[in-house]
């Protein structure tokens, strides 16, 4: 059978909810945490209202705190990680996040598909940023909310970058499209989060080509009633900058 249709487990990247929905205060979906293994074994996201963050690596889900598996998800990015055998790259020189992004764009064959990226390495530092969380009724987010993000800096640490690169046509699905969107988890699994900057000492990067993009829209009243056609540009830029600082 055509390999394109075996995509459910091998070649599909799933994006639960969208950036435009997020910017308009849609912070919940009908997808439960316990359901995410059908979408992948690799990725990251958060639960409703950004209450808890999670990262998924080698089919293990790591949480910021113990969460009920019935919790529903906010924005989440997931895939089954099956790296392209020709795209294992050793990184032996120092690189910051911006340089990694430029290097990544120089080794991909096209900007018209989606990529999943894994980089296991040693880091001089990793700067993580945690978005504020919200309770119901969820507000429409503002650029000031982004400014309330909490930063953590980890120094001299080993761990794994878990990331995605989305094509331009997915820019309303994810405002970080066209750029590397990276999360990090330390080797001891004690720290993880969204990466705003880092300095890689050395590492090994694996890249997975994805030819299928699965967008899951929220099935709830907040999404049905959101005004998705009039998004505050300041907010779109704010989220984009937050996800892409320095690239």
């Amino acid at each position: 059978m055509n390999n394109y249709l075996q995509t459910k487990k091998t070649d599909t990247f799933t994006h639960i909810s969208t950036s435009v929905a997020f910017c308009q205060g849609v912070l919940d979906t009908n997808i439960k945490l316990e359901e995410i293994r059908q979408f992948g074994d690799f990725g990251f996201g958060s639960t409703a209202g950004l209450q808890e963050a999670f990262i998924m690596l080698d089919n293990e889900i790591y949480f910021s705190e113990q969460i009920d598996s019935n919790r529903t998800l906010n924005l989440s990015l997931l895939t089954f990680f099956k790296p392209n055998p020709n795209k294992h790259v050793a990184i032996n020189s120092h690189m910051n996040k911006k340089q990694l992004g430029e290097y990544f764009q120089s080794i991909i064959p096209t900007k018209n598909i989606t990529y999943a990226v894994r980089l296991d390495g040693s880091f001089e530092f990793v700067e993580l940023s945690r978005f504020p969380s919200f309770k119901k009724p969820y507000p429409k987010l503002t650029p000031e909310d982004i400014d309330r993000s909490k930063k953590t800096e980890l120094r001299n640490i080993t761990g794994t970058l878990v990331g995605f690169w989305l094509p331009d046509y997915a820019k309303k699905v994810n405002s970080g499209a066209n750029k590397l969107h990276l999360h990090f988890i330390s080797s001891d699994k004690k720290f993880f989060g969204h990466v705003t900057d880092c300095e890689i000492i050395n590492g090994n990067m694996a890249v997975d080509y994805k030819h299928s993009l699965n967008v899951v829209l929220p099935k709830n009243n907040d999404f049905y009633t959101a005004d998705l056609d009039n998004i505050d540009d300041r907010m779109v830029r704010g989220v984009s900058t937050w996800t892409q600082k320095d690239i």
Partner: protein, 252 residues
């Protein structure tokens, strides 16, 4: 007809989209998924085959290939598609219409009756058409022409006082970078003799069926042609093609 067992396997909330209009515009007109494989994804949909040879309509598990002068032929399972939208169809909402209206007017009715403009809809319109105009493209051969040239090669047919079904999808604005157009409908007559891509109609009686969809699964080709295509900034070209297809450049 596809039997119920197979039906149960379709993801009922998913529209499976093969490639994009932007990819077609950069020359990716070679099919890369077979009709046989598409049949595993749904029993309702619209699309085309390699070289845009006509237009496909899938209704109740039957696959109709409209080509040449908009006549319906059967399709071989081994034919390949470069562009398709396929899904299941289960009615979430029905709207009955008992007055004379055209395409633009029925869009207004659907847009005001649907629960939200933010999700996707599979749409089926069974109607008695006073007149209906639809088109197909003749088979394109390599090297493929640019989109506007292909659009001008369309073969139209107009039928009067005919019963038939419109099959297609309605997409929200926020997904247009992927789905390209808001309304995309194909037509097939009740007697399954004629069909094609809808241009316009006037109808006097219709039942509109909407199926609410929340998942969009896009699959793009793994080909050099697709990899090297410049998919960005195609909006002007798409508008130009749309005005040729819908005859807007001369009528308005």
């Amino acid at each position: 007809m596809i039997n119920n067992n197979e039906n149960a396997n379709f993801n009922k909330d998913t529209i499976f989209q093969v490639s994009t209009l932007e990819a077609l515009l950069t020359g990716s007109l070679d099919g890369f998924i077979s009709i046989k494989d598409l049949k595993t994804k749904g029993d309702f949909g619209i699309g085309g085959i390699t070289g845009l040879d006509g237009a496909m309509v899938v209704l109740d598990g039957e696959w109709y290939h409209c080509k040449d002068d908009c006549r319906v032929f059967s399709i071989d399972d081994n034919e390949m598609s470069p562009k398709f939208m396929i899904s299941s169809f289960n009615t979430d909402k029905r709207i009955d219409i008992n007055k004379k209206i055209n395409y633009e007017e029925i869009k207004e009715i659907i847009n005001s009756e649907r629960p939200t403009s933010n999700i996707m809809y599979a749409v089926k319109i069974e109607g008695k058409f006073d007149n209906i105009k639809f088109k197909v493209y003749p088979k394109q051969n390599k090297p493929y022409q640019i989109g506007t040239v292909i659009a001008k090669s369309k073969k139209e047919r107009t039928l009067e006082n005919v019963k038939g079904t419109l099959v297609g999808y309605i997409m929200p604005n926020h997904l247009l970078d992927i789905t390209s157009v808001e309304y995309h409908l194909h037509f097939v007559t009740d007697d399954k003799v004629y069909g094609g891509h809808l241009i316009d109609f006037q109808l006097s009686e219709a039942s509109v069926y909407l199926d609410y969809k929340h998942n969009l699964q896009l699959v793009v080709p793994q080909t050099e042609e697709y990899y090297k295509g410049d998919l960005c900034n195609r909006q002007y070209e798409i508008e130009e093609i749309s005005s040729i297809v819908y005859n807007k450049e001369k009528e308005i």
